[in-house]
Amino acid sequence: MLDECHRTNHKLRAVAKVETKTSLAKGDLRDVLREMLLIRRFEEKVEERFRAGELPGFLHVAIGQEASAVGVCRALEDGDIIASTHRAHGHTLAKGTHPNELMAELYGKAEGCSHGYGGSMHLYDVERGNMGANAVIGGGLPHITGAALAFQMRGEPRVALAFFGDGATNIGTFHESLNLAQLWKVPAVFVLEDNKWAESTPESQHSPIRDLSDRAKAFGMKALKADGQDVEAVYKTARQALDHARSGKGPVFVHLDCVRLHGHYIGDPQVYRDKDEARKLAETRDPITLLRGKLELSDEEFEELDVEVTEIVEASVEFAKAGTDPAPEDALKNIYA
């Protein structure tokens, strides 16, 4: 049965749709900086609480990749959906999940965005269009092709967007999903966050080609590139990709040149990585420092933002710690609809 409610909601949204902006205004940029800083402070707190032994599971932070999450998600419209990766905190916050709900999930609480069933690698917020993080590399890509197919078949002006890393461009689901998406010209956008590392394996050891956009071009797919550390460029490029896909011209591949400032997982000693290079990247390619410089914020102004987001993050920890532990037997719920 078609989801009539979904359809109706979408029609209403389409009518109410305001003209979309192709670039961000200065006022927006301050808000963008705030959001990126919130994600940064959130993930730093996650690292701290993990090291303190409070957080179970496997955790991967995306410190350094905030511009990609915020720039892309800002460009989405209501009704658009995303699929994320195992490095999902930033995408989840940028798509609108409250930090309290995210932190509660990381603490395994019933108030969490996946009610304690998912954890860091399985964050969902379906109401807000987040179809989920995925702990299998490339696992969510075919879902995005399929969601976009549903939008196309129902004539809905919605776009489905997948995030993935350079490591994912070697797995079968990547190739199969892009091939099918282009073949059927579905409204999908595939965002490659190319941080040059597949866990501990550098791109030179995992890919025989130096420009991963070539993989999309091989399917005849439109490919765009942007500096993933420059949030304005990310937004503009994502906007262009989403407009193209929404207009029925087919899927778009967005190649973002990104920097992973921390390890693959929290606690990763990064023995595989040149320490000087990592330090240099932190000094020259941190997206938050770059945007702060562009906005010419004074120390006081930055401090003010920092205090504001840090309070939100602290509150999220308090919220999570005060949350409800699921009953052990709740493990047997939600297996079947």
Binding site: C113, G132, H143, G146, A150, E176, S177, L180
Partner: protein, 327 residues
């Protein structure tokens, strides 16, 4: 009551659902002009068009995953995996994704997708085109697994599978496509999780699936001639399993044979035998007999293939063993 072949019955369930519901569509390899490798979807392209009868590349991960993605957005896709053996290629999406998305999201997601597939020995396709892999999928919480053996059952169960809000792996047996049977005029949904008693008997219960249902019915006829009254039960749904019906039958007959075409060792029948010994221990007068394929890949040469998989005589011998008269 009209008569339909098993193949026509599958097609009728698909086409009827597609006529009444825009959200239902089919996708798979060679299902459009060619009508699928087994001719099941023959003629459907003409009626429903390319938008809803979608030929896919030979690309099982995307085929399965795209169906999941469309299902997550409220469609009810039916993905045809051409041969059961190729479920291994789709397995990541079926096992790690479809089965677990609802769970991992804490109940936010619903995945109303059907993976139709077919397999079975008898035509000598060899080791990669005839396996029976249902035991792989019954082991995964979050999946429902159906294996129907008659035209009426396959139509009514496929209907229920399409309208079930969970991912369903739907097995068909290749050698059954041509068999005919009466079906109700109008499709009557058959509930998932309900066994069917094909033949009532007093002395032994044979619990069989797929092709072995028919082999077991033939064996029961032969046993009858030898004075042994046999009840034949088809679980039809392997997950969830209608334990109540199976156990009640065995409590009546006090003897049981479990029969399937898949390899006996670690097979679906092992679980059924375990259920029976635990829930009907005091009623059993003989060990539960198991009939299935020998522990071997399927060979090509017809004489070897026939040697590996079970037939009516294997079921008959198992029946006779339970009453102390078999080989």
């Amino acid at each position: 009551m009209p008569e339909l072949s098993y193949r026509e019955a599958v097609r009728d369930a698909l086409a009827t659902a597609m006529r009444q519901d825009d959200g239902v569509f089919i996708m798979g390899e060679d299902i459009a002009e060619m009508g699928g490798s087994m001719g099941v979807t023959s003629g459907m392209l003409e009626e429903f068009g390319r938008e809803r009868v979608r030929n896919t590349p030979i690309s099982e991960m995307a085929l399965a995953g795209t169906a999941i993605g469309a299902a997550l957005q409220g469609m009810r896709p039916v993905a045809e995996i051409m041969y059961e053996d190729f479920m291994t290629l789709a397995a990541e999406q079926v096992v790690n994704q479809a089965a677990k998305l609802r769970y991992m999201s804490g109940g936010q997601l619903t995945v109303p997708v059907v993976f139709r597939t077919q397999g079975g020995a008898g035509w000598s396709p060899g080791a990669q085109h005839a396996q029976q892999l249902e035991a792989w999928f019954v082991h995964i919480p979050g999946l429902k697994v159906v294996f129907a053996s008659t035209p009426e059952d396959v139509r009514g169960l496929l209907w229920s599978a399409i309208y079930d809000d969970n991912p369903v792996v739907f097995f068909e047996h290749r050698t059954l496509y041509g068999i005919k049977g009466n079906v109700p005029e109008k499709i009557e949904p058959i509930p998932i999780g309900k066994a069917r008693i094909h033949r009532e008997g007093e002395d032994v219960t044979v619990i069989a699936t797929g092709r072995l249902v028919h082999e077991s019915l033939a064996a029961a006829e032969e046993a009858e001639k030898q004075g042994v009254s046999v009840e034949v039960v088809d679980p039809r749904t392997l997950q969830p399993l209608d334990e109540e019906t199976l156990v009640a039958s065995v409590k009546k007959t006090n003897r049981a044979v479990v029969a399937h075409e898949a390899v006996t060792r670690m097979g679906f029948g092992a679980e059924v035998a375990s259920v029976l010994q635990y829930q009907a221990f005091d009623w059993l007068d003989a060990p539960v007999e198991r009939v299935g394929a020998k522990f071997s890949p399927l060979p090509f040469a017809p004489v070897m293939e026939q040697f590996v998989v079970p037939h009516a005589d294997d079921v008959l011998q198992a029946i006779l063993r339970t009453v102390g008269r078999g080989n």
